[in-house]
């Protein structure tokens, strides 16, 4: 759904966020709001060079989605220094998502 974003699984998630600040996008393949937010995130990437994106398919990784309380999709986690510092569930505009990325 997201172009050029690594797909994370339960085994690799903690190591990934320990090494990468940025956004992790929880989605489902057939979720219409996820399609919208994926396009929004693509647009944000154009406006925030260096923004790091990764993704989790919650149907393929239900344990990870449950552990991170991201069963509702789309959910975006903002990760910094190996920790989840903010989360947002539902559709957002590019302006809202850029503001979300720039907090903290």
């Amino acid at each position: 759904m997201l172009v050029n974003a690594p797909m994370l699984d339960d085994a690799g998630f903690d190591a990934y966020i320990a090494a990468n600040d940025g956004l992790v996008f929880f989605h489902k393949k057939l979720c219409p709001n996820c399609r919208v937010l994926a396009k929004v995130l693509d647009k944000c990437r154009g406006q925030l060079p260096g923004l790091t994106l990764a993704a989790v398919d919650t149907e393929e990784q239900p344990a990870l989605a449950t552990r991170l309380e991201a069963l509702r999709v789309p959910t975006v986690l903002l990760v910094k220094n190996g920790r989840v510092v903010a989360r947002k569930t539902g559709v957002a505009s590019p302006t809202e998502m850029i503001a979300f990325c720039q907090q903290g």
Binding site: L30, C31, P32, C34, R35, V36, K39, L71, R72, V73
Partner: protein, 303 residues
Amino acid sequence: MKAYDVLIIGGGVCGLTAAIYAARANLSVGIIEKEVCGGLVNWTHVVENVPSYKSIHGLDLMAKCREHAESLGVDLVEVEAVTGVDLSAELKLAVTADETYAGRALIVATGRKPLALPVSTEFENVHYCAICDGAPYKGKDVVVVGGGNSGFDESLYLAGLGVASIHILEVFPQCIAAAATQDRARRTGIIRVDTNTKITALDVLESDRGRLHLENCADGKTWTEDCDAVFCFIGQKPNTDLFHGLLDLDKAGYIVANADMETNVSGVFAAGDVIVKKYRQIVTAMGDGAIAALQAEKYIRAR
């Protein structure tokens, strides 16, 4: 400014069909879509009434429509909302936060948007998309408001997720969902339906569950029912805020267009769910889109 022969506002099935027809007439075409192309069909779990597909997910159907339009060179501008239009000059303009778009002809295919639950509530578990929000309710009790195709279709999806029970509430005396879909829902054994039932209030309980206050519209009887979530599919309203005072609208806000999809403004066409019509189906939206594009081509060639 980006200029096209045909500018289309709205990338649902109507707008995409119009784009395909216009592009095949060798016209340059741009679609501006505030979300992603696909419109309300994207929200339909299973589509079973489009000839050539016995059964297809709405997102998959619209991905094919989108690919078709893109293959013909249609410019798709997504997650960009039109904030204003100028229909007064020969060139029709649509303005977004990022750009001004122009068309020698404009096709309005903005469709409709879902209506919100008609009661004010602090209950957080009110949702409008079973695929997006249904997963946390496995083993729990949900209420679905609306007995149309969307209400039953989304109920079947929730049933597949493993919710414990689904209670569909319909305010009118009968559910209007397709009979085959209603039969399939009832066969699940966990879906029950009450017609003539309206919600008068929705409270939050200490347990974080919700308490619905219900009323039978026929005999006035009232009662309460507790649930873990409410999914609302009670219909749509037209996306015509941009056109008040510019295009002729009916009392409900739908655009008045003739059989050739012409509006009261020369060079502006309207098609699909957004116009005054009796039947709003995928195939009727496609038909409207085709007519609007053909008529727009005729309009452009004549000038």
